[in-house]
C-alpha cells in the first residue's frame, strides 16, 4: 500500500485547514504580545476562519464525491450540508461565547482555539471513511470539549460535569474501540465502503461482527445521548458554560449523528429484525424519557438538556428510516431535522446566556416572570424558539418533524410516528411554561440583560433562520436532497 498525498488532497480538506489556522492565530498573537489580545479581534479572526471554510464548501459543492488520503476521508453528498451546519453552529457558539460571564475576559483565545479544534474533529468525523479515522475525529472533538466544560470558573457543577463527561466519554470510547477491534477481527477491514459490501455476508456468518457492530453503536449512542446512554446529558449540559452547552447540543450532536448515519448505512439493518426492533425501542424510549424528564425541570438549561434528549429521539427515527431501505430520504430528513433543531436551540441558549450574571447563577423557569414587560423583543424571540421546539407550525421545528414523520410512515414505522407525536404533546407542556412566565404575569422582570452585542446577533441570526427554514423549507430541503443524492448514485 503506497501512501501518496497530492495537492488535491490538501485542497479537498482546505476547510479543515482554514479552521485550524484560524484557531492558532489568536494564540500566536497572545504569545508574541505576551498579553491577552482583544476579545473582539479574536472573535473576528475565528469567525473569518469559519467563514472561509464555509465559503470554500459552498464553492466546491458541485464537485461531487471526492475520495482523499487513500480513501481515509470521503467528501460526499451528506457531508456538504452537514459540514455547513456544523460551521454555522460553531460560528453562532463563538458569538455567544464572546464576553460571556464564563469567560470574564480571560483565556478567550484558548477557548476559541479549543472550540475550533473541536470543530476540526467534527469535520474529520463527518468525512471519515475509515472507522479508525472516525475514532480520531471523535477524540479530537471530545478532548477539546472536556477542557471547554472544565474551564468554567464555577466550582461545583462545572467540575462535576467535566469529570462526569470525561469518565463517561472515556468509557464509551473504550467500548467503541473494543467494538472496532471485533469488527476488524471478523472482517479484516475498517473502511466503511468495504464493510458495506461485506456486511450482509458477515451478518449471516459472524456473530463477532454483530457484537462489534453493536458495541460501536453504543459508543455512538453515548455521543448523541440515546436512551439508555443519555444519563450524562442533563448534568453535563447544566454544568457546562452556556455557550459550550449550545455548542454541544448543536454542532457536536450534528457531527455525531452524521458519523452514526454513515456507520448505520454500512450495515443492512433491515435484514436484522432484532436490531431494527431494538433501535425502534431506543428511539421511542429516548423520546419519552427526554420529554417526561423535561416536565419536572425548573432549571431552564436542564430543561433544554432533556428536550435535546427528546430531539435526539426524533432524529433517531430519521436514522432508522435511512438505515432500513430509504437511505436517501432518511438522510435528507435527518440533516434537515438537525438543521431545524440546531437553529432553534442555538437561539434559545443564546437568550439563556444573555440573562446570566454570574457563573453560579442559573436561570430558572420562574425567573422569567414578567420578562415580556421589560424585554419584549427577546421574549418574542424566545417564544418563537420554544414554539418551534414544540413543533408548532409555521416554524422550522414543525417542518423538521413533518419530514421525519413522513419518512417513518412511508417506511411503515407507523407506531414510531405515533409515539413521536405523543411525545410532542407532552413536550408542549414544558415548552409553554416559560412562555406563560414571560407573558402571563404582571410582575416586572428583576434582572438586567447583559449588554452583549454578538450574543444578540446570535439571537437575531437564529430567529431569521427559524422563520426562514420554516417558510422556505422546500428549497432548503431540496438542496439537501440534491446533495445527498450524490452519495446514493
Amino acid at each position: 500500500m503506497s501512501v501518496s498525498t497530492g495537492i488535491h488532497d490538501i485542497l479537498a480538506i482546505f476547510p479543515l485547514l482554514a479552521v485550524f489556522f484560524a484557531s492558532t492565530v489568536p494564540l500566536l498573537i497572545k504569545s508574541i504580545k505576551q498579553k491577552e489580545p482583544s476579545a473582539m479581534s479574536t472573535l473576528i479572526q475565528a469567525l473569518s476562519g469559519v467563514g472561509i471554510a464555509a465559503g470554500w464548501i459552498l464553492i466546491s459543492y458541485s464537485a461531487g464525491s471526492l475520495s482523499v488520503f487513500s480513501n481515509a476521508l470521503i467528501i460526499d453528498g451528506t457531508s456538504y450540508p452537514s459540514v455547513l451546519l456544523i460551521l454555522l453552529a460553531t460560528g453562532v457558539a463563538l458569538l455567544i461565547s464572546y464576553e460571556n460571564v464564563n469567560v470574564k475576559g480571560e483565556h478567550f483565545a484558548e477557548r476559541v482555539f479549543l472550540i475550533l479544534n473541536s470543530c476540526i474533529g467534527m469535520m474529520t468525523m463527518v468525512w471519515a471513511n475509515d472507522l479508525l479515522v472516525t475514532f480520531i475525529g471523535l477524540e479530537i472533538m471530545s478532548i477539546a470539549l472536556y477542557l471547554l466544560v472544565a474551564m468554567s470558573h464555577e466550582q461545583t457543577l462545572a467540575k462535576e460535569a467535566a469529570f462526569k463527561y470525561f469518565i463517561m466519554g472515556g468509557f464509551s470510547a473504550a467500548v467503541f474501540l473494543y467494538g472496532l477491534a471485533f469488527i476488524f477481527g471478523s472482517s479484516g477491514v475498517t473502511e466503511l465502503s468495504s464493510l458495506k459490501s461485506m456486511s450482509p455476508q458477515l451478518l449471516a456468518n459472524s456473530r463477532l461482527f454483530v457484537l462489534g457492530w453493536s458495541m460501536m453503536l453504543v459508543g455512538f449512542c453515548f455521543k448523541v445521548s440515546i436512551f439508555p446512554f443519555h444519563f450524562w446529558t442533563p448534568d453535563v449540559y447544566q454544568g457546562a458554560p452556556t455557550p459550550i452547552t449550545a455548542f454541544m447540543a448543536t454542532a457536536v450532536k450534528t457531527a455525531s449523528f452524521i458519523a452514526l448515519l454513515k456507520f448505520i448505512l454500512s450495515f443492512p439493518v433491515s435484514e436484522a429484525p432484532a436490531i431494527l426492533d431494538t433501535l425502534q425501542w431506543m428511539a421511542i424510549l429516548t423520546i419519552l424519557v427526554g420529554n417526561i424528564g423535561a416536565i419536572m425541570q425548573e432549571n431552564l438549561k436542564r430543561m433544554l438538556a432533556y428536550s435535546s434528549i427528546a430531539h435526539s429521539g426524533y432524529a433517531f427515527i430519521a436514522l432508522i428510516v435511512a438505515g432500513s431501505g430509504s437511505g436517501e430520504y432518511g438522510s435528507t430528513s435527518l440533516i434537515f431535522y438537525l438543521l431545524t433543531y440546531s437553529v432553534m436551540n442555538l437561539g434559545a441558549f443564546a437568550i439563556v446566556a444573555l440573562f446570566e450574571k454570574f457563573e453560579e447563577q442559573s436561570l430558572h423557569v420562574s425567573d422569567l416572570k414578567g420578562l415580556a414587560n421589560k424585554y419584549p423583543y427577546l421574549s418574542f424571540c424566545l417564544a418563537i424558539f420554544l414554539l418551534s421546539l414544540a413543533g408548532i407550525p409555521p416554524t422550522a421545528g414543525f417542518f423538521g418533524k413533518l419530514y421525519v414523520f413522513s419518512g417513518a410512515i412511508n417506511s411503515g414505522f407507523i407506531w414510531l410516528a405515533v409515539w413521536g407525536v405523543l411525545g410532542s404533546v407532552i413536550s408542549v407542556y414544558y415548552y409553554l411554561r416559560p412562555i406563560v412566565m414571560m407573558y402571563m404575569f404582571d410582575d416586572l422582570f428583576k434582572e438586567q440583560a447583559q449588554p452583549l452585542g454578538p450574543a444578540r446577533v446570535a439571537v437575531g441570526v437564529s430567529l431569521v433562520l427559524v422563520l426562514m427554514v420554516g417558510l422556505l423549507s422546500s428549497p432548503i430541503f431540496m438542496a439537501i436532497q440534491k446533495s445527498v443524492k450524490l452519495m446514493f448514485q
Partner: protein, 507 residues
C-alpha cells in the same frame, strides 16, 4: 387574489396597529380596520357564483414540491358563510372589548388579527397541510388571549386548552401524511390537495378498527371532536370559556368551535365514507349524550358564563347529530346551526360580559330583578335567549328544526331523544333568565343599584347587528341558504364518492 387578500389582510392590519398606534388611539383604529376587513370580505358575495357547487376563486401555487404540498385556497358554499361569520364577528368583538380589555389593548388587537388570519385561512385552505398549519396556528393567539387577559385560573385553562387540541391535531397530522403517501401510490403523485384526497380509495375492512380507513377516521374524528367539543373530550371548554375574557369567549364559541364541525363536514364525512357508515352512529350517540348532558349540567350552574359554556356543548351536539344524519335536512340544518350558534352564543357571551363589567359578578343568585333597572339590556338578552332556545321566528328554530327532521329520517329514536334536549334547553335558559331578570330584587340590585346603568350607545351598536341577524336569519333563511344550497346538495348527492371540482376546469 381576493381570497389571499382576505386571509392575509388582517395580518397586515395587525402590523399597522403595532407600528402606527398608541395605547390611546388603538381602540377605534383597530375597530375601524376590522370593519374595513369585513367590508372587503363582503366582496366575496359579489364575486361568488351561488349557482355553482364547485370550488371558486381558486389560487394554487406550488410550495413544497417534493411532498406535493401547495398553497391552495378556494371557496365554496360551505366555507363562504363561515368566512363571513369570522370577519363579521371580529369588528364586533373589538367594539365590545373597549372596556373589558383594560390593559395592553394594542397587543390584544394584534393577537385578534393573527387569529382572524388563522381562522379564515383554515376555512379557505384546500390543501391538507396548509389547513393543518392554519388550524394549529390559531391556537397560539387564542392561548395568549386567554393566558394574558383571562381570569384567575387562566393559566391552567389555557394550557389545558392548548394541550388538548394539540393531542388531537397531531394524530390528525399523521393521518394526513398517510393520505399523502397513499395519494402517491394511487394517483402516481404525492399530493396534499384535498381534491386529490377525495379521489383516494382508502382500504376499509368492515368491523375492525385496524384498517387504514378506520384509523385515519379515528385520528381525524378525534382532532375535530376535541375542537367541537364532543362529549367526553369537552372538558377543556368550560374552563377555557370561564377564564377567557369576553372577546376570547366570543371568538372561541363563535368561530373556533366551528373549525371542528367544519372539519367533520369537509374532511371526515367525504373522505371516509365507509368508516362513517359503520362507526358514524357512535359519533351521533356522543353528540346525543352531549346534547342532554350539556343541558343538564347547564341547568345547575351557578355561574352565568359557565351556563352559556355548557349550552355550547349542547348546541354543538345538535350540529354533530345533523351532520351524521347524512341527509340533506340534517346537513343543511347543521350548517345553518353553525352560523346560528356563532351569532346567538357570541351575543350571549357579549351580554354576560357587559353585565360582568358592571358588577364583577356572574353568580346567578346575586342577581334577580334586573329587568326593573336595565330594561333595554333585558330586552336584548331576551331576544338572544329566544334565539338560543330556537323559538320560531329566530335563527335557532330553522337550524334545530332541520336537524331534528334529518335525525328523525335517519333514526327515529335519536330524533326523540334529541327533541327532549330542546325542552331541556328551554328550561335552563328560561330558568336562568327568570332568576336573573325577574323575581325578587337580588343582592346586587338592592345594594349596588348605582353601577347598573342601562346599555350605552357603544353597547347598543355592538348588540344591534347580532339581534338583527338573529331575526333576519330566522325569518328569511333563504337569503343565506341559497348561497350554500348547491354545495350542500352536491355533498349529499355524492356521498360515498364525494368529489369537488374547480370552477371552470372540466374533468
Amino acid at each position: 387574489m381576493i381570497l389571499s387578500i382576505i386571509i392575509f389582510l388582517p395580518l397586515i392590519l395587525g402590523l399597522l396597529v403595532v407600528f402606527f398606534t398608541t395605547e390611546k388611539t388603538v381602540r377605534p383604529v383597530a375597530f375601524v380596520l376590522a370593519l374595513l376587513q369585513f367590508a372587503f370580505s363582503l366582496c366575496l358575495l359579489q364575486q361568488f357564483d351561488p349557482s355553482s357547487a364547485s370550488l371558486q376563486l381558486v389560487e394554487r401555487y406550488s410550495w413544497i414540491e417534493p411532498f406535493g404540498i401547495t398553497y391552495f385556497v378556494g371557496i365554496d358554499g360551505i366555507s363562504l358563510w363561515l368566512v363571513l361569520l369570522t370577519t363579521f364577528l371580529t369588528p364586533i368583538i373589538f367594539l365590545g372589548s373597549f372596556t373589558s380589555i383594560a390593559k395592553n389593548f394594542k397587543s390584544f388587537s394584534v393577537h385578534m388579527f393573527i387569529l382572524e388570519t388563522a381562522l379564515v385561512g383554515s376555512f379557505l385552505s384546500m390543501d391538507a397541510i396548509l389547513f393543518y398549519i392554519f388550524f394549529e396556528a390559531s391556537l397560539i393567539p387564542m392561548y395568549f388571549i386567554v393566558g394574558i387577559w383571562g381570569g384567575p385560573r387562566r393559566i391552567y385553562a389555557t394550557i389545558k386548552f392548548f394541550i388538548y387540541t394539540m393531542l388531537g391535531s397531531l394524530l390528525m397530522l399523521l393521518a394526513i401524511i398517510g393520505m399523502m403517501i397513499m395519494a402517491g401510490e394511487q394517483l402516481g403523485q404525492v399530493s396534499a390537495s384535498l381534491l386529490d384526497f377525495y379521489k383516494l380509495q382508502i382500504p376499509f375492512v368492515e368491523g375492525t378498527l385496524w384498517s387504514p380507513q378506520a384509523m385515519m377516521f379515528l385520528a381525524f374524528a378525534l382532532a375535530f371532536a376535541i375542537k367541537v367539543p364532543l362529549f367526553p373530550v369537552h372538558t377543556w371548554l368550560p374552563d377555557a370559556h370561564v377564564e377567557a375574557p369576553t372577546p376570547g369567549s366570543v371568538i372561541l364559541a363563535g368561530v373556533m368551535l366551528k373549525l371542528g364541525t367544519y372539519g367533520f363536514l369537509r374532511f371526515v364525512l367525504p373522505l371516509f365514507p365507509e368508516a362513517v357508515e359503520s362507526w358514524g352512529c357512535w359519533i351521533s350517540i356522543l353528540g346525543l349524550i352531549g346534547i342532554i348532558y350539556g343541558a343538564w349540567v347547564a341547568m345547575v350552574q351557578p355561574d352565568i358564563k359557565k351556563l352559556v359554556a355548557y349550552s355550547s356543548v349542547s348546541h354543538m351536539g345538535y350540529v354533530i347529530l345533523g351532520l351524521f344524519a347524512l341527509n340533506i335536512y340534517g346537513v343543511t340544518g347543521a350548517y345553518y346551526q353553525m352560523l346560528n350558534h356563532g351569532i346567538s352564543t357570541g351575543a350571549l357571551f357579549l351580554l354576560v360580559g357587559m353585565i360582568y363589567e358592571r358588577t364583577h359578578s356572574r353568580e346567578i343568585k346575586e342577581y334577580g330583578g334586573l329587568a326593573s333597572v336595565m330594561p333595554l339590556f333585558t330586552i336584548a338578552f331576551f331576544i338572544i335567549t329566544l334565539s338560543s332556545i330556537a323559538v320560531p321566528g329566530t335563527n335557532g328554530f330553522i337550524g334545530e328544526f332541520l336537524i331534528l327532521m334529518g335525525t328523525f329520517i335517519h333514526s327515529p329514536w335519536m330524533g326523540v331523544v334529541a327533541a327532549t334536549g330542546v325542552v331541556f334547553g328551554a328550561v335552563y335558559m328560561l330558568w336562568m333568565f327568570k332568576r336573573v331578570f325577574f323575581g325578587e330584587a337580588g343582592n346586587i340590585v338592592r345594594h349596588h343599584k348605582e353601577v347598573l346603568t342601562d346599555l350605552s350607545l357603544r353597547e347598543k351598536v355592538v348588540l344591534a347587528p347580532m339581534i338583527l341577524f338573529a331575526i333576519w336569519m330566522g325569518v328569511f333563511p333563504q337569503h343565506f341558504l341559497k348561497w350554500s344550497k348547491p354545495s350542500l346538495d352536491h355533498f349529499i348527492a355524492n356521498k360515498g364518492q364525494y368529489h369537488l371540482q374547480i370552477k371552470g376546469e372540466t374533468e
